[in-house]
């Protein structure tokens, strides 16, 4: 029997601070036993032996030959992860969760809305979409952060912005020296960009405050609930629907999620 609690070994190939305030650290990890198959939106549990495990969304795309995670320093395990240097061994369990329904997205317009450091799994999704560019119609990205230094994967974003097959709208909350993108909060920018809801799916990830104010805009743009997807976070332990803590109603965020469509969430207790 395969033991789902045992992590796989890997090594950190590259590690750097992603944001200028050093609160976010990105790790590129290569597994010892070859590559991991996954769908954008899935997550892994990273172990620090003696400290514990924490779940992180996979920020790399299946086509890349490393696993990328961006970790915000908030607690016990994440602080330990921040200490990790290049070439140190790490332990990983995954892929876990359901991931974004990329097959359902085929042949549709895709709108990606994100704020702050929630862009991780959306990077994975965006690269996946670009890798299979012919299968999808228009791709629009609206991504904002408090200031330019807090936008994830800044260089890549600039590269993508140059492409003509994807519309990237970057925003910061307030005027910033040298900033040439949008200025304002994500909901405002989304309303300004006003992507068509026709034949389109919308994927949204961000802090609770952003979600709260973006939802009315999404309704205004006429996106039906079943075509809006979001990725949830909960305290997780086992990651396989056993330990019982991450449930929202009868669904486990770790196993049946973390990606849920809005129409499913609307029927569940507001426990997220």
């Amino acid at each position: 029997m395969n033991n789902p609690y045992i992590p796989m070994s890997g090594k950190i190939k590259k590690a750097w601070f992603e944001s200028t305030d050093r609160s976010l650290r990105t790790l590129d990890i290569v597994l010892d036993n070859g590559k991991m198959d996954f769908i954008p939106g899935q997550f892994c549990e990273i172990s620090i032996m003696g400290k514990g495990e924490s779940p992180f969304g996979i920020a790399s795309a299946p086509s890349e030959d490393f696993l990328r995670f961006t970790v915000n320093k908030t607690g016990y395990v994440t602080a330990a992860i921040h200490w990790l240097e290049e070439e140190t061994p790490v332990w990983i369990r995954g892929p876990l969760g359901n991931g974004y329904p990329v097959e359902k997205f085929e042949g549709k317009n895709i709108v990606i809305v994100s704020g702050g450091f929630a862009f991780t799994t959306l990077r994975s999704l965006l690269i996946y979409l670009l890798d299979h560019r012919d299968k999808y119609k228009d791709i629009t990205v609206v991504y904002g952060a408090r200031e330019p230094g807090l936008l994830l994967y800044r260089e890549e974003l600039q590269e993508w912005a140059k492409r003509d097959d994807v519309n990237i709208h970057l925003a910061v909350d307030a005027e910033f020296e040298g900033w040439q993108g949008h200025v304002g909060f994500v909901p405002t920018i989304l309303e300004k960009v006003s992507p068509s809801s026709e034949d389109a799916y919308l994927v949204m990830c961000g802090p609770p405050a952003m979600i709260k104010f973006t939802l009315p805009v999404i309704k205004k743009l006429n996106f039906p609930s079943e075509k809006v997807y979001t990725s949830l976070e909960r305290r997780m332990k086992c990651g396989i629907g056993k330990c019982g803590r991450c449930n929202i109603g009868p669904y486990y965020v770790c196993k049946d999620g973390p990606v849920f469509s809005l129409d499913v969430l609307e029927k569940l207790p507001k426990e997220y």
Binding site: G52, G75, Y76, A79
Partner: protein, 298 residues
């Protein structure tokens, strides 16, 4: 006597609810099992007939006081519960104006388990002292120390030495005491009922729940359980009113009062202090005397 108390409780509860002196009254209703009463929360003056009083009303209702931060609360208390309120006031957790205290002189609560064992489901008419909860046996404050309304005549207080059990226990050898502690602690399942039942355990984050620092490993390795009991009791030093709610709440029947009672005795002997009498007096570990004993120093 008891009927008179019940009548007085209901009347007073109805009055304070009707006159809007309080928004909610915390009292006891009939329990669903033999020898039990259960906490009840009355907001409608018409519901006061749910309120009862008998010798099974052992819960310390003061534990609920902090659950209603924006309400004026009426509460029915025994001697020990009233001391909890005073202790909470001394720690600035409550304001006296927000609480209306209905005091009940208490003759001690009866131990459900002992009664079940002895009489099964048929409650006896006459009850002897031996069926009292251990926590009630040495009670020094049967009458509420603070109240707005007293439901009956004060009962006679005991004048005896209140810690005979602690004195007796101290006579045991070191290893006997350790063995006893091990036996009791090993029963623990870490449900934290003792903590939750205690009005004084109001920390937002308990030391067992933090992970940085991680004071205690999870699980039921014996030292984990022992350290939990040591520190839980120690956090009560000079704060415990000896109501015994922790021990009565324990589903595993662990004796835990002998820990806090030892601390209480020490606080009395070393610092001449008793908590829960005067809300203006600073608890013993929040103050000091230049002349505190220090024989224990090397």
């Amino acid at each position: 006597m008891a009927d008179k108390i019940v009548e007085n409780i209901r009347k007073e509860a109805k009055r304070i609810l009707e006159e809007k002196i309080v928004d909610i009254v915390i009292g006891f209703e009939k329990g669903t099992l033999p020898y039990t009463a259960s906490p009840v929360f009355i907001e409608n003056p018409d519901d006061v007939d749910k309120l009862i009083w008998n010798r099974y009303c052992h819960n310390n209702l003061a534990v609920y006081l902090r659950n209603f931060p924006d309400k004026k609360i009426g509460i029915i208390v025994k001697g020990c519960d009233s001391r909890s309120i005073v202790a909470l006031m001394a720690e600035k957790q409550l304001t006296r104006e927000n609480i209306y205290i209905i005091g009940v002189p208490c003759e001690g609560m009866l131990d459900k388990n002992k009664l079940l064992e002895e009489f099964g489901d048929n409650p006896p008419i006459e009850v002897k002292e031996e069926f009292l909860y251990p926590s009630c046996q040495y009670c020094e404050h049967k009458n509420p120390v603070i109240y707005d309304f007293l439901t009956g005549e004060p009962v006679q207080e005991k004048e005896e030495e209140p810690y005979p059990d602690v004195v007796e226990f101290e006579k045991k050898t070191l290893d006997e005491r350790w063995k006893y502690f091990q036996e009791e602690a090993s029963k623990c399942i870490r449900c934290y009922a003792c903590r939750q039942a205690c009005p004084m355990c109001y920390c937002e984050e308990c030391f067992v729940d933090t992970n940085s620092p991680k004071w205690l490993d999870p699980g039921i390795d014996l030292p984990d359980l022992q350290v939990w009991h040591i520190i839980r009791a120690y956090h009560q030093a000079g704060r415990c009113v000896d109501c015994g709610a922790c021990e009565r709440a324990c589903p595993m029947d662990i004796k835990i009062l002998w820990l806090t009672r030892k601390l209480n005795k020490d606080v009395r002997d070393l610092f001449e202090f008793e908590i829960g009498i005067d809300p203006e007096k600073v608890p013993p570990l929040g103050t000091f005397s230049l002349y505190d004993k220090e024989e224990f120093l090397i």
